[in-house]
């Protein structure tokens, strides 16, 4: 055997040399060398490129249809509120003022006499309520956690100086992301879900809000901390005093906090107090400690203690006319993440402090801050009206919150008159807003008849007060109760109203998705023979249909102004496109067959996919999706074992059994990596991190990446060696580059743990810098070196010449092509798997990239996934299943399963945002979002990359219709995700009034839609383009036939 030669030239030379030894016989069927053959070869290449280009176009078209369908549904489902651009004005109170108070002067107070000149408003991101109150054991075994009793300043001041301070639970409206919360905290209105996705690029608030009101009143506003504020309020802050810090580097616990502290105390100094009126500070350390370590970690204790010290200092230096407000914008769940609507995520804390001593409690029982967030909570939207009135600002127009009782009831807790006055103002503004809103929206007054009757009652009680000479506290209290009843009713009406869905858009979106599913199903399973022959006809008609649909949409959109333009245009374009496909299918109807399964494999695939999809209509089955996928994968494994035992060929039987059982066992081992969602408790134990209350890996878990690095390359090598394909570039790539990459990635995670745990105090900065460099090296190996290898590598072959007698006893069965005759024979090692082995290099490249961005436990799971993928290829080969849908479908199940095994769940809070900082120090577009996608959907991406290998594995290089088989496999794989997407979309729409909508069905719908689009992009940009490189390379050696 000769040494493997690295390039085409070398390979061709070896081939020619070997050939020269047996010149008498042209090695028929290997490569013609005549002129005519060259011409036809060139034509075949052009034909391949054209067919491949059309496939790209076809799948892009399907992608486009899915985008249109998902967009249309989403725009009707995640409805945005109509934003009114009215602003409240200082001189125009919402209702006639009493007691001859003159409106219009910000100096004395616009609608109500102001209490404070200045304010310092501090947000401690993710300050959960139970952090701030003393730990009270619920049982004997109940021990305080790291987050308990670490920031007692709020509780102490509220108890010791009730007139100076109060502490209350502060309930956020989900989604509990910082951007959404800041909107709620400054506008006083309810958030809508659709903005949750724009967390990466905050957009300016256009609605009336407290910051804008302060600005209009020529107040000088300073902002320090989280730069989300800059995105929301561009140009509002004093430029020379304001300091904004990058908010998404969740691995950095101190830069933002130290920056805020460094700049805020000089401002509080009397010599600087004339330079500003309101300071907004935003600390991020607690939030980042939660994201990085989870709440129950010593880092959280020290962070909270640091905050405690900061506020004690602040109390000391605060002057009498300044109000100090400290609050959390949301809480955090047991792992330190947030975004959803679980109790731990919405329960933040609010603390107000002033040296004036004007706060009170209406009842001695309220003296002490509540023990839990379930008692006496105030809503976060209540802050806006409270702050506005305390600072003498008009209440922002869209505000729905009520003034907080403790701030207005007076020292003695008896000033119901004041309380009634401020509530009347806030409520009247709400009433004015509601009136304008229903006018702008064209709503029927009946929709709010219940709240209107409450309004009338409140007005009546106010009128009766006006006739009384000196009303008693009880009468004032009654008026206060009446106004606040109206406010509460309106708030609940608004919650219901803004959860109102545009059903027409939703139905049309579902229709588009359903029709596209039918097109995809027919293309994947309902066409006989080679798909590439029919794609031109289908695509042409689809393009014509789309153009016609677009024209009709434009005509109707402009012609009938009463119809919503965008909706009409999208719907008509998509339907035109689908109709084009339908006419294309009609044109090729002779080639159509029933897309229904024809074998047990097809039926099992259909039944399990449909069962999973139907299950998403139930919250229980959605919650336990990971276990269901385990069950289904084992089912496939058992069926493959059964099928292997049925094989007549002994070797096929043994190999098939081995790989099938291996597949099942690996699935079960991977299933041990779990990150439980809240709803799975108490039947689930998280193993992904060191503990259930942590988001760092345990020390033993750091061994997993090293173990993967030492074993995985050898395991994968054996799959190449089976077919003698471990030749040429594969040796260098798998044994050297891939292994090195895995080792560096393991080193990265160890250094990350060292950095997290502060193992080497003083070397933190060095660790940070060097680990980022390591991660970049791994990416360079995986994608830069990997793609150059993949693009330029010759097929994994080597040529061997033997005397013909030696060739006779070749033990290697039909794995080689032997050109016999004469005295010697040419053997091409690796011939039997020339397509599959070469394409598999692409899978290992992405395997390396995906392993890097997963936590150690997830890296282990992805390593198992890589092994399973190669086992699956062998199972498909030994059972001759490459024509059945089982391979692509099983890859869909595998990808979905390992999504859960890499520490993810279909919830917003399980997104591992910190993965954006693995190879980067700061946010960089577009890389940061791409990294998060690679982390979140790594398993699905890897499986999508592997799909073509299902049909390429161990296929002869000149097999007819191989490209068509690839198209069929990719379409089948997409079909799996399209079914899931259609189902989750339909269920989310159908269950839109379900209590669990935002907790369970909506996140699963969003995950399904994003996965579908990601997998489609991967299928087009990675899998299909990889197939092109592969075919070109193979044809370079063997020619086109």
């Amino acid at each position: 055997m000769e040494d493997p030669l690295p390039s085409y030239e070398g390979l061709a030379a070896a081939f020619a040399k070997a050939k020269a030894e047996k010149e008498k016989e042209e090695a028929s069927g290997l490569r013609d060398r005549t002129e005519y053959a060259k011409v036809s070869n060139k034509q075949a290449e052009v034909r391949f490129k054209a067919a491949h280009g059309l496939l790209l176009a076809f799948f892009s078209w399907i992608l486009l249809l899915h985008i249109l369908g998902v967009y249309l549904f989403t725009s009707g489902f995640l409805l945005t509120r109509l934003v009114l651009d009215y602003n409240s004005s200082c001189a125009v109170p919402p209702v006639e003022l009493t007691r001859s108070y003159q409106a219009g002067s910000p100096e004395s107070g616009c609608w109500h006499p102001k209490t404070f000149e200045k304010a310092v408003v501090i947000i401690v991101d993710a300050l959960r309520y139970d952090f701030t109150v003393p730990f009270r054991p619920q049982g004997i075994d109940d021990k305080p956690h790291h987050y308990h009793n670490a920031i007692p300043v709020f509780y102490e001041t509220a108890v010791q100086h009730p007139n100076n301070a109060f502490l209350l639970p502060f309930i956020a409206d989900p989604p509990t992301t910082t951007l959404q919360r800041l909107k709620g905290l400054t506008t006083g209105t309810l958030p809508t879900f659709i903005d949750a996705g724009s967390n990466f690029a905050g957009t300016a608030i256009e609605e009336d809000n407290l910051v804008a009101q302060l600005r209009n009143a020529s107040k000088r506003i300073v902002h320090l901390g989280d730069d989300t504020w800059q995105a929301l309020f561009p140009g509002y802050f004093e430029p020379n005093l304001t300091k904004a810090y990058d908010s998404f580097n969740v691995w950095d616990l101190h830069t933002v906090d130290n920056g805020v502290t460094e700049h805020i105390f000089p401002l509080l100094h009397p010599s600087n107090s004339s330079k500003w009126d309101v300071v907004f500070g935003h600390y991020l350390g607690v939030d980042h400690a939660g994201h990085r370590y989870g709440p129950d970690h010593p880092a959280m204790t020290s962070k909270l203690e640091q905050m405690d010290g900061v506020f004690r200092r602040m109390i000391e230096v605060l002057d009498d006319s300044t109000l100090l407000v400290v609050m959390g914008d949301h809480g955090m769940d047991a792992k330190g993440d947030h975004g959803g609507e679980s109790d731990d995520e919405i329960q933040a804390a609010l603390w107000m402090y002033s040296k004036k001593g004007i706060f009170g409690r209406s009842n001695p029982a309220k003296q002490e801050p509540p023990a839990t967030a379930k008692e006496r909570p105030v809503a976060q939207i209540d802050l806006v009206s409270t702050l506005s009135l305390l600072l003498g600002m008009p209440i922002p127009f869209n505000n729905l919150g009520a003034p907080i009782e403790e701030a207005f009831i007076g020292k003695k807790g008896q000033d119901y008159e004041n309380l009634a006055l401020v509530n009347r103002l806030a409520t009247s503004q709400i009433h004015r807003y509601q009136h304008e809103y229903s006018q702008a929206r064209g709503l029927d007054e009946n929709a709010r008849s219940s709240s209107l009757s409450l309004w009338a009652a409140a007005e009546d009680s106010w009128a009766s007060l006006a006739t009384t000479k000196s009303p008693s506290a009880k009468q004032w209290n009654n008026a206060y109760s009446a106004f606040s009843a109206y406010q509460r009713e309106t708030l609940s009406v608004c919650r219901a109203l803004w959860a109102r869905f545009d059903v027409a858009r939703m139905v049309h979106g579902v229709e588009i998705l359903a029709f596209t599913l039918v097109v995809l199903a027919i293309y994947a399973r309902g066409i006989e023979g080679d798909r590439t022959e029919l794609t031109p006809a289908l695509l042409l008609r689809a393009v014509i249909g789309t153009a016609l649909g677009l024209l009709v949409g434009l005509a109707v959109g402009f012609g009938v102004p009463s119809l919503p333009f965008e909706h009409t245009l999208i719907y008509s374009t998509a339907i035109g496109s689908v109709a084009g496909f339908a006419s294309g299918f009609w044109y090729v109807r002779r080639r159509l067959i029933s897309p229904l399964p024809r074998s047990i494999w097809g039926w099992v695939g259909v039944v399990l996919t449909v069962a999973l999809s139907v299950g998403f209509a139930s919250n229980s089955f959605t919650i336990w999706e990971d276990e269901i996928l385990l069950h289904f994968l084992s089912t496939f494994g058992v069926l493959m074992t059964i099928s292997s035992l049925r094989q007549p060929d002994l070797i096929d039987r043994a190999l098939g059994c081995y790989h099938s059982i291996l597949f099942i066992v690996l699935t079960r081992i991977a299933s041990l990596s779990r990150l439980c969602r809240e709803e799975q408790m108490p039947y689930c134990k998280s193993t992904y991190y060191a503990s259930a209350n942590s988001s760092t890996s345990a020390t033993w878990q750091l061994a997993i990446p090293f173990f993967v690095a030492f074993t995985l390359p050898n395991l994968l090598r054996s799959y190449f060696k089976n077919t003698r394909s471990y030749q040429g570039s594969a040796i260098l790539w798998i044994d050297f580059a891939f292994r090195t990459g895995l080792l560096i990635s393991a080193a990265f995670w160890t250094m990350d743990a060292a950095d997290d745990g502060d193992w080497f105090p003083g070397y933190g900065a060095l660790l940070k810098t060097s680990k980022i460099i390591l991660a970049q090296i791994v990416f360079a190996i995986a994608l830069a070196a990997g793609y150059s290898t993949f693009a330029w590598a010759a097929p994994l072959l080597s040529i061997e010449t033997k005397s013909s007698s030696a060739a006779e006893d070749s033990e290697n069965r039909s794995r080689q092509v032997v050109a016999e005759g004469g005295s010697s024979s040419i053997t091409i090692l690796g011939y039997a798997n020339v397509h599959g082995s070469r394409y598999a290099l692409l899978i290992t490249m992405w395997l390396l990239a995906v392993i890097l961005v997963q936590k150690p436990m997830g890296g282990g799971a992805i390593g198992l996934l890589g092994w399973q993928i190669f086992s699956l290829f062998e199972i498909i080969d030994t059972n001759k299943l490459s024509d059945t849908p089982v391979g692509p479908l099983l890859l869909g199940f595998l990808g979905s399963f390992h999504f859960f095994k890499t520490g993810h769940q279909a919830t917003l809070s399980s997104i591992q945002w910190e993965s954006a900082f693995i190879p980067l120090k700061t946010i960089k577009y577009p890389w940061s979002p791409l990294l998060i996608v690679l982390n979140t959907f790594g398993a699905q991406i890897l499986c999508a990359v592997a799909v073509p290998a299902v049909v390429l594995w161990k296929q002869p290089p000149k097999k007819k219709g191989l490209l068509g088989d690839v198209a069929k496999a990719i379409a089948t794989h997409l079909l799996f995700y399209a079914v899931i997407n259609l189902a989750t979309t339909m269920w989310a729409g159908w269950l839109r009034r379900h209590l669990m909508l935002y907790r369970i069905f909506n996140p699963r719908f969003m995950a399904g839609a994003i996965v579908l689009l990601v997998v489609e992009v991967v299928g087009i940009l990675i899998a299909l383009l990889g197939v092109r490189l592969n075919f070109l390379s193979v044809a370079e050696v063997f020619g086109w036939s």
């Binding site: 047990i600 229980s620 089912t635 060929d649």
Partner: protein, 244 residues
């Protein structure tokens, strides 16, 4: 490729029940008895699965042993059976008129008991491991899981062991679903499919006692056994299970 290593052997034929009146009658009573036994024990199993499942194994074993002794032809190759049994069975199959003598009854009870022991000792661990591979708890509930496995083994595999013995090639055909369908194969497939489907209600948030492990699996196995045995013996008898 030729398979010279494998002896050419007659293809498996569907198993007919013994041509006696008792067999014809009992084969129909048997599933009803098995289901009644389970129904009777159900509340106890729900209340405390481990002891209840363990106790239920005894009547279940008795029923299954009785069933195979009364209704099924014992294996020709079973190690314990005297050579004399073989021609007798063959004669019965051929002639179909001979009455079961007390002598042949003992000769059948011994293989039946051996089948029981084999199912409990050899097949139960395999079934238990399969349950764990399908997602049964891996660190806890071993007693639950392996008792469920024992029930499945006795329901699904005891009759097969009795009929087929320990012939490796026949067992490959069993696992490869290559045997023609009859009531024994039907019972096995039914039990396994039933146990598989029994996992469906577990995740539901109904907070019922009977959702606990492994009640639904065992319930599915019993129901599946009865259905599969009936369907295999009456509807699908003689058919082959096709994969492609």
């Amino acid at each position: 490729m030729s398979t010279p290593g494998i002896k050419s052997r007659p293809a498996a034929t569907p198993i007919d029940i013994l041509p006696t009146d008792a067999a014809r009658l009992y084969t129909h009573i048997h599933p009803a008895l098995v289901l009644s036994l389970y129904a009777l024990r159900f509340n106890a199993i729900v209340a405390d699965p481990v002891p209840a499942l363990l106790q239920t194994l005894i009547p279940l074993s008795t029923l299954q042993t009785a069933y195979v002794t009364i209704c099924l032809p014992p294996t020709a190759g079973s190690g314990s059976s005297t050579p004399a049994v073989v021609p007798k069975t063959a004669k019965k199959r051929a002639g179909g008129a001979a009455k079961a003598t007390s002598d042949s009854n003992t000769a059948k009870i011994v293989p039946a008991l051996l089948s029981l022991i084999l199912s409990l000792l050899a097949i139960t661990p395999l079934t238990g491991i399969t349950l764990i591979l399908f997602g049964a708890p891996i660190t806890t509930h071993f007693a639950h899981t392996f008792l469920a496995a024992a029930h499945i083994a006795i329901l699904a595999f005891l009759p097969l062991v009795y009929v087929l013995g320990v012939d490796g090639e026949r067992w490959r055909e069993v696992v490869g679903l290559l045997l023609p369908v009859d009531e024994v194969v039907g019972g096995m497939v039914g039990t396994l499919v039933g146990a598989w489907a029994g996992a469906v209600p577990i995740p539901l948030d109904w907070d019922r006692e009977w959702q606990k492990w492994p009640v639904t699996i065992v319930t599915g196995a019993y129901a599946g056994y009865a259905l599969g045995k009936l369907a295999g013996g009456l509807v699908f008898k003689g058919r082959k299970i096709m994969f492609d």
